[in-house]
């Protein structure tokens, strides 16, 4: 018996054209499943990037004792920070910043001398994790004249915990979603198989092998998955074009919301490829159960 792959594709396309309603239901189901998954991935990824953008600009301040040598401390900090941006902040500059931050309330500082505030060395470390920030802060304790090292640990810890919870919740939700999607898609495709039970029966009675009967269904599953995935990507891109500018204006950060960031090529590939794989697996499950039922 000769297998003709092109004939399977032709039969799959014919079946899709003959049963537009079932095809639409299957593609629609795959689209909803993939769009929901993609939206979830995009929102989760976007939230992580936004949080990282807000919290990732870690700044470590090394407060010095009054007798400390500021330039020497800055040099030592630069050495310990391994090339990161280091800035020496004399007491006068610290007072100026404090005034600036108080805004209209700055008058309360009138009469306060700059000597009240300690000199400090600031080390900027963008994009590092809490653990890395903690390690760097520990190293900076060795700066000559260092009295205290502060790296905003309370804020960073809260963000880290939030991100960790978000990831776990995301993983759990993704698992539930994937399972529901597989069951839903498989059941939908099983309806399509059931609608063509007479055709399957006749083909088997005239000598078709299970593989011959199954192949067009698998091709159909892949094509429907590709179509559902492509539609999901298109819908995500449309949604992004609609919402991203407004969201960027609202949160004041645009870069993490760029299209290539929110709907990256990897997500596009995952949705289209995942759609094809999902369609294939669901079809195989549906037609396999039908063919091998007692």
């Amino acid at each position: 018996m000769v297998l003709r792959p092109l004939s399977f594709v032709r039969r799959a396309l014919e079946a899709m054209a003959r049963g537009p309603f079932m095809t639409a239901v299957a593609v629609g189901t795959l689209f909803v499943a993939l769009f929901t998954t993609g939206l979830f991935a995009a929102v989760l990824g976007g939230a992580e990037r936004l949080l990282a953008a807000w919290a990732g600009d870690v700044q470590i301040s090394v407060y010095l004792r009054p007798d400390a040598d500021l330039p020497a401390a800055a040099r030592a900090a630069a050495q310990l920070a391994g090339g990161r941006e280091v800035q020496a902040v004399p007491p006068a500059e610290a007072l100026r910043r404090l005034r600036a931050s108080l805004g209209p309330e700055a008058a309360v500082l009138d009469g306060v001398s700059a000597d009240v505030l300690p000199a400090s060395v600031e080390v900027r470390a963008p994009g590092i994790s809490l653990a890395q920030a903690r390690a760097l802060a520990a190293r900076l304790q060795a700066v000559p004249g260092a009295a205290d090292v502060d790296f905003g640990n309370a804020w960073l810890e809260r963000v880290e915990v939030l991100l960790r919870r978000l990831r776990w919740a995301g993983l759990a939700l993704f698992g539930v979603l994937a399972l529901a999607t597989a069951v839903l898609v498989s059941n939908t495709l099983r309806l399509g198989v059931y609608a063509r039970r007479d055709e399957i029966e006749i083909m088997k009675l005239v000598g078709a092998t299970d593989a011959w009967v199954e192949a067009p269904f698998l091709v159909e599953g892949v094509l429907q998955g590709l179509l559902g995935g492509a539609l999901a990507v298109a819908a995500l891109l449309g949604l992004h074009a609609l919402l991203a500018p407004r969201l960027a204006a609202a949160v004041g950060v645009a870069a993490p919301l760029a299209r290539a960031e929110v709907v990256p090529p990897a997500l596009v590939l995952a949705l289209v490829g995942g759609g094809a794989a999902l369609g294939l697996a669901a079809s195989a499950l549906a037609v396999g159960r039908f063919l091998r039922k007692p």
């Binding site: 018996m1 000769v2 297998l3 003709r4 004939s7 003959r18 007479d198 055709e199 029966e201 006749i202 083909m203 088997k204 009675l205 005239v206 000598g207 078709a208 092998t209 011959w212």
Partner: protein, 233 residues
């Protein structure tokens, strides 16, 4: 009877759950090139016997050899090649309503993996032989019962099967169409195809004067010359 047996039954039983035996202790043989009528009243076991031969159902017990292979113990993967050597005309036609006449007839050839050009050529030849060449593009439901029956015969014959099983192939036909269809089956037999026709139409048995196996309540009650003697008396 021809010397080489194509179908052999040895004490075959078939019982459906909660019912009496559909076949009981059936023992018979059909030789290569033979033309055999299976006859008997409704429920005698004719259709059941055909179903066992093309592995649509398993026998409950006994041995059933088709082309020398014991189909009682056949592995599922060996069923399709066996079926491709058998043409079957079903009592209810089993045509695909959303496929054209030509597409219906082509199914057994597509299943064999024939090239589309060869499929088209063979389909055209067989449709001409059953007088349906002008209906090739029609859908089965637009045809009369007789025409649908001829499509079913064409589909059964298109693959030049070694064995043709026909279950009441003239059941829906008027006398003229009955003769047309039976002539097609007889012509296939003349070309070397072994034929088993299940029918309760006694006029067919009288007209074609072939070996007759009579069944009643699942049992073989007569085989071979018995009918001819009756018919000749």
């Amino acid at each position: 009877m021809a010397s080489e047996a194509l179908v052999q039954l040895f004490h075959v039983y078939k019982q459906y759950a909660g019912e009496g035996p559909a076949l009981a202790d059936a023992t018979l043989e059909v030789g290569r090139g033979e033309f055999v009528f299976l006859t008997g009243p409704s429920g005698a076991g004719k259709s059941t016997l055909l179903k066992l031969i093309f592995c649509a159902e398993p026998a409950t017990s006994g041995q059933l050899l088709v082309f020398g292979r014991n189909v009682a113990k056949i592995l599922p993967r060996h069923v399709p090649p066996l079926r491709r050597a058998i043409g079957v005309v079903f009592q209810d036609f089993k045509l695909l309503p959303h496929r054209t006449v030509a597409e219906n007839v082509a199914v057994p050839l597509e299943v064999r993996g024939l090239a589309p050009r060869d499929v088209a050529r063979k389909v055209a030849v067989v449709l001409r032989s059953v007088g349906l060449e002008l209906k090739a593009g029609k859908f089965p439901l637009s045809l009369s019962g007789g025409e649908q029956q001829r499509v079913a015969v064409a589909r059964a014959l298109v693959g030049d099967p070694a064995l043709l099983l026909a279950d009441e192939p003239t059941g829906n036909l008027d006398p003229d169409r009955t003769v047309e269809v039976m002539d097609l089956i007889e012509a296939a037999n003349a070309r070397g195809t072994t034929v088993v026709v299940a029918t309760h139409d006694r006029s067919l048995l009288e007209r074609y004067q072939r070996r007759v196996i009579a069944l009643e309540s699942g049992r073989v009650i007569s085989d071979g010359d018995a009918f001819r003697r009756r018919a000749g008396s």
